[in-house]
């Protein structure tokens, strides 16, 4: 009798457990309004209440390395516009010097902020170029995926942003970024990065680095506009991204990348 009772209780326990599990599953399946939705989902559902022009734009950035003269105007402009701390850079310029022996010399004194002093390297420099770098604003974003508090995210227009009020400064995203574009701001102890000057682009202006570039080596534009020069370049010219093997899908495209670029 006792055994029978035990059997019965086990069956009922299993029943209850199954019911409980199903109930919990149902609870987790109840969708939170508009959370976790991708851009096109929001677009289709028409759920946006404010800032209706959000869906009109989808931005991309183009760097023409064949035009960059390494003057550092972009680095200085970025520091002024975004008030970045000393020794931390949202954008910087690297100098590549490749000698006839095949050696590659890369440097970026002070991120190219004060342009570049001449640097003697062993051998003859047979190939050289400057390589401006910024956040690549990836679509398959390694940095936002690791954020434990959803402080870092992709904006509907394609810019990857950091919410400083939500950020706990754990630094996972700084480690996750394969392009080294993030840093922990020593003043606020939160993550910070290039935002494509989000406060400028949402007002119809260009990012500060694009505004001051004297040779138009940096270009920024809207992929949803048909007459956008950036769209034309990406559609018709041969562009490349940094570290394509990582499948991060960057939206910062480069013209004239060399095999020595890291």
């Amino acid at each position: 009798m006792i055994q029978k009772k035990k059997k019965k209780s086990r069956r009922e326990f299993l029943k209850m457990a199954a019911a409980g599990a199903a109930g919990m599953l149902v609870v987790t399946l109840i969708p939170k309004p508009s959370s976790g939705q991708r851009i096109h989902d929001i677009e289709e559902a028409g759920q946006l209440e404010r800032a209706p022009d959000w869906m009109e734009h989808y931005y991309a950035y183009v760097v023409d390395t064949t035009k960059c003269i390494g003057c550092g105007a972009c680095v200085r402009a970025c520091r002024r516009e975004n008030d970045t701390p000393e020794e931390y850079f949202r954008t910087w310029v690297e100098r590549y010097q490749i000698t006839d022996t095949g050696h590659v010399y890369i440097d970026a004194p002070n991120g190219g902020h004060d342009s570049f002093p001449p640097r003697d390297v062993p051998g003859n420099v047979v190939k050289g170029f400057f390589l401006p770098k910024i956040c690549n604003h990836c679509r398959n974003t390694p940095c936002t995926q690791v954020c434990p508090v959803n402080a870092s995210y992709e904006s509907p227009q394609g810019a990857v942003l950091v919410d400083k009020k939500s950020c706990i400064g754990c630094g996972y995203c700084v480690q996750a970024c394969p392009y080294d574009t993030r840093y922990i701001d020593p003043r606020t102890h939160t993550a910070d990065k290039c935002t494509w000057c989000y406060h400028r682009i949402t007002k119809g202006l260009m990012p500060a680095c694009v505004t001051v570039c004297p040779t138009k080596a940096r270009l920024f534009g809207d992929l949803k506009k048909k007459d956008s020069p950036v769209k034309e370049i990406i559609d018709t010219k041969r562009v490349m991204v940094l570290k394509p093997e990582l499948n991060t899908e960057p939206y910062c495209f480069y013209i004239g990348l060399d095999k020595s670029v890291r």
Binding site: S34, I69, C71, R80, A151, L161, K165
Partner: protein
């Protein structure tokens, strides 16, 4: 019922945990979270409402169009703020309390534009570096370049402030042909 007590314990623990999570979500999570995606919705509005600092060439041309007709200038492609970053007090919009001066429609000048007249800003673009594009005008040997172009009538040779003595920053090529 006595034999179910352990089951009830398990479920009550789960229920309390779920309830706690829900309470934590509603109290700790920002109200605007999830409004536009998996982030605090208010942040995207905060981020877009920050003040801009670089104003662009059109802003400068509102007052300086007649002063510098840059259309033919060699440096016309160089944005103003590349060399002259606009200090906040140089042009105060009338709406922000700046008193408009005669001829100036929108802005009042309260602070002079600082101009670096040493040769240092020139070197940032025109000092020879092997990494620069080959066709870009560059000076390989600065001292030799200055000595070759220097005329005794221009006074004592000071390498540091030499560039602007021969080259007008806006019309660098045209001015070089004129002797002082």
């Amino acid at each position: 019922m006595k034999n179910y007590s352990h089951v009830i314990t398990v479920f009550s623990v789960v229920a309390v945990a779920l309830l706690g999570m829900q309470i934590a979500l509603t109290t700790l999570q920002s109200d605007s979270f999830g409004k536009y995606g998996r982030f605090r919705g208010d942040h995207i509005l905060e981020a877009s409402s920050l003040p801009t600092k670089h104003k662009g060439d059109d802003n400068c041309l509102e007052c300086h169009e007649n002063e510098w007709d840059m259309a033919d200038a060699k440096h016309a492609a160089v944005p103003c703020e590349n060399c002259h970053f606009l200090p906040k007090a140089h042009a105060v919009p009338a709406a922000d309390g700046g008193e408009p001066k005669e001829g100036l429609a929108k802005y009042a000048r309260t602070e002079k534009m600082p101009i670096d007249s040493s040769g240092e800003p020139c070197k940032r673009c025109h000092l020879f570096l092997p990494s620069r594009p080959a066709g870009f005008p560059q000076v390989k040997n600065v001292e030799k370049h200055i000595k070759d172009g220097w005329k005794k009538t221009m006074g004592e040779l000071d390498v540091k402030s030499a560039c602007p003595r021969c080259h007008n920053s806006h019309f660098p090529k045209a001015f070089a042909k004129v002797s002082i």
